[in-house]
């Protein structure tokens, strides 16, 4: 078994360095050095093989990040973030993924955190932000509902004003990591507006509040990361309302538009290219022109995605528009991730037929790689189908782009 990347070798010098100035190169080096210490080898191998780390692994890593104040890279200094530039965050995300670190759950740091420090009360800030920054408190997101997939504004969960509290009834779906979460942020209808976007409010709530039930959704990779969350007469204290009542739609848009970095998974894609090279060596594909050409093609795609992201983040004169850029990156990121996942599965050959724990323990190695490499790759391909669905399907992204090109509006 030689399929876990060697410590320190996972981030060789590359063309990204050529694109950065000296300060960013030094910054990158510092991040890389920290991460090579902070990520245990077992975690790195599991993550590299495409598995999702368990909560304890994530918590352990978040503690280390917290010791440097790096849990929430996007936050300004005044709220406890490192105050990095967009490009520092790009570099940080890249190195994070390349190091084999567990993905930092975005729900607290990238999603609810900025909403709270921008629109929340001082009490809310004091109560919620420290737990996010320390990595100790996990959040989950209650936006999607059955019957409101891409059509988010169509939601039916209601929070009825009962004076000293709101009474919450309804159901959320696709709630990632709800089984681990300490708190949830959610959208609920408090009033009936003329347009269906009106009358929606934004709430935060502890997951141990009575009346909340979490039901696992087993996904097509046979894992449990998604959930349904049911609310039956759940009492939300009045101070669970964030910002103004009825303005939840605006906060949700702020939240979704806020996070421009990290949507492309560039780091993971780079790792996948390295994985494909290792696989090529193991499976005798190093002289297969068709394979190499496909690899060169997706590598060029990935390079274009990196540059496009840097251009967007640099916001220079020729940068892609803030309206089209994110959709372009979302579309291509899904495409590139899925291409890489499929290429790996294809390169596994007939053994891509196998899956599961029994399979993993049936072999010491397969062509010099661990069966975990095989199993993880197939799992990642399966769950990876979500990349073109969640956060606006490919079709929705194309609708957005076409509006700009053909109707001259967003």
């Amino acid at each position: 078994m030689t399929d876990h990347p060697k410590r320190g070798s996972q981030s060789p010098a590359d063309h990204i360095d050529l694109l950065l100035d000296d300060d960013l190169r030094v910054f990158r080096h510092g991040v890389r050095a920290f991460l090579s210490e902070a990520v245990p080898t077992e975690t790195r191998t599991r993550v590299d093989n495409g598995y999702v780390p368990a909560k304890p692994e994530i918590v352990a890593f978040l503690r280390k990040l917290a010791s440097r104040g790096w849990v929430a890279p996007g936050w300004p200094r005044e709220h406890g973030g490192p105050g990095w530039t967009q490009l520092q965050r790009f570099v940080f995300n890249l190195e994070l993924a390349r190091s084999g670190a567990p993905a930092v759950p975005p729900f607290g740091t990238s999603m609810v955190g900025p909403v709270i420090y921008t629109f929340g009360t001082d009490d809310q800030k004091a109560r919620y932000l420290p737990g996010i920054l320390s990595g100790e408190e996990f959040w989950c997101q209650g936006f999607s509902e059955p019957g409101a997939g891409s059509d988010l504004a169509n939601l039916r969960t209601r929070a009825e004003d009962r004076g000293d509290h709101y009474l919450l009834n309804g159901q959320k779906i696709w709630t990632s990591k709800a089984q681990y979460a300490d708190r949830i942020f959610l959208l609920a209808r408090t009033d009936d507006g003329e347009r269906k976007q009106h009358g929606i409010s934004f709430f935060v709530l502890d997951m141990d509040t009575p009346g909340i039930e979490v039901k696992p959704i087993i996904s097509i990779d046979m894992n449990h990361s998604l959930n349904e969350v049911f609310f039956t007469d759940v009492k939300i204290p009045r101070d669970g309302l964030v910002g103004e009542r009825g303005k939840g739609w605006n906060y949700a848009k702020f939240l979704l538009g806020n996070e421009r970095t990290g949507i492309t998974n560039v780091g993971r894609c780079r790792n996948q290219i390295e994985r494909l090279k290792r696989l090529a060596r193991a499976r005798g594909l190093a002289s297969d022109g068709a394979f190499l050409t496909e690899l060169a093609r997706v590598e060029a795609d990935l390079t274009a995605m990196e540059i496009t992201e840097i251009r967007l983040l640099s916001a220079g004169p020729g940068a892609p528009s803030a309206l089209t850029g994110p959709s372009i990156l979302k579309l291509q990121s899904a495409q590139i991730q899925q291409t890489l996942q499929a290429m790996i599965v294809s390169a596994l050959g007939p053994m891509a037929a196998a899956r599961g724990k029994e399979f993993e323990s049936a072999f010491e190695d397969l062509d010099g790689l661990s069966p975990g490499f095989f199993d993880g790759a197939v799992g990642e391909y399966l769950f990876g189908r979500a990349a073109s669905i969640y956060g606006g399907t490919n079709q929705i992204q194309r609708d957005i782009l076409a509006k700009m090109a053909l109707d001259g509006r967003a």
Binding site: S150, I218, I220, L348, A352, A354, F363, R385
Partner: protein
């Protein structure tokens, strides 16, 4: 038989098709989930309908039919996503045996047809065109002693015997009991939940009576079995895709978004149309493969084309059907994901599109070189 005759199935074949489609169509998704990779009851039903003897001669209690009818059955089983090793035992293993007449094979074919023995091909057919070395046999008197490994074999707890291809001085096809001394069978699962196993052989002794074929005879039987495997896998894939397409069309008609049926969005309609094209092209290639397995002397290169094209269709149809199901497609609860996983399994067993194309690319290079010589 010509290809046109092949397309115009016999009445008998059409009856088998209709019966199988009706039977498979009546199997509920929940029943398949509940069977956890193998249902003895369904297996018994298949035996009763004669399907496990589809290729075996009438002397052996079989129906004595050909690749086309075997493929028809495989297609029906794909449509119901049945996990049972029908192709493994009744098509690939039995198909090899039909080309090696003898007392031992006759008995075995009869047992397979009756559903009393489940045979697993090891080292040939499933997966097609494996690049892995097969176990090596050395002579010991008139017996053989075999050592080596078969990493992937479609076999589960109910599998009674293995038909093993061995290398060494000459290619042989040998019969192994599951409990043969020196044979270690490690079970695991396929991505679609069916049973697989790894075989490790350490000095396994195969008595003369269990050597079913040797040399040219064994190679001919193995080649035939490989062709049958391609034909059956292609047909299974088409059956699986037919159902995936139907489920997707139904979902689009049922689900609403932005106040309209999903089926009313032109972009989704066009993706559906692309799936239809893929399924129809794959069906053509499955027909070609079935014809090739029975009707063509050396169909090898055509079979490579067939599995390459069918693999490509399987990938596109599987991925698109999930995409069109949106978030719901990501759940194990919906049947569509099970079809998607079956398509992944089938592509792997067919050696992946890339594997099939690699073979054809090599012969194309030869053809171009040959042209060079002619031109000079």
């Amino acid at each position: 038989m010509t290809f046109l005759e092949h397309l115009n199935q016999s009445d008998e074949a059409r009856m088998i098709h209709d019966t199988a489609a009706r039977w498979a169509g009546g199997i509920a998704d929940e029943a398949v989930r509940a069977s956890n990779g193998f249902s003895p009851d369904r297996w018994a039903e298949m035996a009763q309908m004669g399907w496990l003897g589809i290729l075996a001669g009438e002397d052996q209690g079989g129906l004595g039919m050909g690749a086309a009818e075997a493929a028809t059955l495989a297609g029906a089983m794909g449509g119901a996503k049945l996990p049972e090793p029908f192709i493994a035992s009744a098509v690939v293993a039995a198909g090899a045996l039909t080309r090696l007449p003898g007392a031992a094979t006759n008995t075995l074919l009869a047992d397979i047809a009756a559903g009393q023995v489940i045979a697993a091909p090891a080292g040939f057919g499933l997966p097609c065109d494996s690049d892995a070395p097969c176990p090596t046999a050395t002579a010991d008197g008139d017996a053989l002693v075999v050592t080596g490994e078969v990493a992937l074999c479609e076999a589960g707890p109910a599998t009674g015997v293995f038909l093993l291809r061995t290398g060494g001085a000459e290619t042989c096809l040998v019969l192994l009991d599951r409990d043969a001394p020196g044979l270690e069978v490690t079970p695991y699962r396929a991505v679609d939940g069916r049973h697989l196993a790894r075989l490790v052989l350490t000095q396994v002794r195969v008595p003369a009576g269990a050597i079913l074929g040797r040399g040219a005879g064994a190679v001919a039987a193995l080649t035939h079995a490989e062709a049958l495997a391609v034909a059956a896998l292609c047909a299974d894939t088409v059956g699986t895709m037919d159902r995936a397409l139907a489920l997707t069309a139904a979902y689009l008609n049922e689900r609403e978004q932005f106040g309209r049926k999903l089926a009313s969005f032109q972009a989704l309609r066009h993706l559906t149309a692309d799936m239809m094209v893929e399924v129809e092209f794959a069906r053509s290639m499955a027909d070609l493969a079935a014809f090739g397995a029975d009707g063509i002397e050396a169909p090898g290169e055509l079979l490579d084309r067939a599995r390459a094209r069918v693999c490509r269709a399987a990938k596109l149809v599987g991925e698109t059907s999930i995409q069109l199901h949106g978030g719901m497609g990501m759940t194990d609860e919906m049947a569509i994901g099970h079809y998607f996983r079956r398509l992944i399994f089938l592509q792997a067993m067919m050696g992946q599109e890339a594997g099939a194309l690699r073979r054809r690319a090599a012969t194309l290079a030869e053809e171009i070189e040959l042209q060079r010589e002619v031109a000079q």
